[in-house]
């Protein structure tokens, strides 16, 4: 009787609910020629609300010239976001300080220039946005991985990094000067 019941129970097992005839993200498809269910945009189409008319915001250039201004105000929140995104996407090669000493570089990737050389300290901020958007030298573009506003936030944080490496004692508020030189565990850098 047990065996009979087990047989009935087993034959009742079907996977139709488990594997429904619909696509999950990035699933394979035998309907389209390239075997992918996710479809690329048809060439020269623009999705509703995604026309990229603001040249400053989307290219970092105005009339083809790289600009030295941000398309939106840089606030503390923007800088915090920039720091977080920089640590995710940029620090593997550029290092947490931006001196080009990241882990991937230590494993043999071509070393990028430090952000703290004169050429890059003098470069307009749109230059950094442009490099993130289109790549530069050995660096691939990051337009697919980092959304537009995050790229600007990272550019703002790069500016902050550049300032941090050329700061003088006069830049430190008097109240904070006494704590300089102490171990960094409770220093200002770890406070976000």
């Amino acid at each position: 009787m047990c065996v009979a019941f087990a047989l009935v129970a087993v034959t009742a097992c079907r996977q139709d609910m488990q594997d429904q005839p619909r696509y999950k993200p990035l699933a394979a498809s035998d309907f389209f020629k390239d075997g992918a269910s996710a479809r690329p945009l048809v060439a020269d189409t623009v999705a509703r609300g995604q026309a990229r008319l603001d040249s400053l915001l989307y290219t970092g250039k105005v009339d083809g010239v790289v600009v030295d201004q941000f398309p939106f105000p840089v606030t503390q929140a923007v800088l915090d976001r920039g720091q977080e995104r920089f640590d995710i996407f940029c620090s593997p090669c550029h290092g947490p300080l931006g001196d080009g000493d990241g882990m991937v570089v230590r494993r043999g990737f071509r070393r990028p220039p430090s952000y703290h050389i004169d050429r890059l300290r003098d470069a307009p901020v749109g230059h950094f946005f442009d490099v993130m958007t289109n790549g530069f030298g050995a660096m691939q573009d990051y337009r697919a991985q980092v959304p537009v506003r995050d790229r600007w936030a990272i550019a703002a944080y790069i500016r902050a990094l550049q300032l941090s490496q050329h700061a003088t004692m006069a830049d430190v508020p008097p109240a904070g000067r006494a704590t300089l030189g102490r171990p960094a565990s409770s220093g200002q850098e770890s406070q976000r």
Binding site: C2, Q20, L26, G35, I88, F89, Q140
Partner: protein, 219 residues
């Protein structure tokens, strides 16, 4: 006329009583244990992949953040499997002659995606969204385990309903501060319950009644 039943038939009859109970027990145990076995849930079983990608090397050794590749985990239900281009960000220069990576280079050359085998595959009748869990303070490692210590990807947890609902009933036992969600080395503090209760309030986690409702996940 001789007896139909010999004397030891009594023993057989008694033994059959015990046997029925035992068989029932074994059958019941099978029903409970088989669906939870690694054979069915595939917990701890690495799956064959086109390239033996090591999270241990990339996330652990290199210290690359989860979001470098899984870019949409904070904003979408799907955490995203990176396109081959993301691999080539580094492997255009690193290990360019490694035979192991030939499928990656071929994929990039021919513009054909790598066909990874899905390791965490929920049944289609379950609704799951990564972004809400991340934004409420559920760490990656809480569900996926120490991915940074996995040379090959495997499931750490069953993803079965009884496992999901254990956290939905007691979220305060598992939540962590948002800035620690992607930290693989995070250890819960000694006052986890106290911290968890505070985070449940601070992050506006829906009440247990609501997040254990059937239609939260079966919609």
């Amino acid at each position: 006329m001789s007896q139909i039943f010999t004397k030891n038939a009594n023993t057989l009859a008694r033994a059959s009583l015990v046997a029925v109970v035992l068989a029932g027990g074994v059958f019941g145990w099978l029903i409970v244990a088989v669906p939870r076995s690694d054979y069915i849930t595939r917990v701890d079983v690495p799956r064959p992949q086109p390239v033996p990608f090591s999270h241990k090397h990339h996330a652990g050794g290199m210290g690359i953040d989860c979001r470098y590749c899984h870019t949409t985990v904070e904003t979408s239900g799907f955490a995203n499997i990176p396109p081959t281009k993301t691999c080539m960000n580094c492997h255009s220069q690193l290990f360019t002659n490694a035979a192991l990576l030939e499928p990656v280079r071929a994929s990039f050359r021919n513009d054909t995606p790598l066909a990874w085998t899905r390791v965490h595959d929920l049944p289609d009748f379950v609704y799951f969204d990564h972004s809400i869990h991340v934004s409420k303070g559920v760490g990656c490692a809480t569900c996926h385990g120490r991915v940074d210590q996995m040379p090959l990807m495997y499931k750490e947890n069953t993803l079965q309903m009884e496992w999901c609902i254990n956290c939905h009933r007691h979220p305060e036992e598992f939540l962590r501060p948002r800035d620690q969600v992607f930290n693989m080395q995070y250890q819960p503090p000694a006052n986890q319950i106290e911290l968890g209760r505070r985070l449940v309030k601070e992050y506006n986690v829906a009440g247990v009644q609501q997040i254990t409702s059937c239609s939260t996940c079966h919609r």
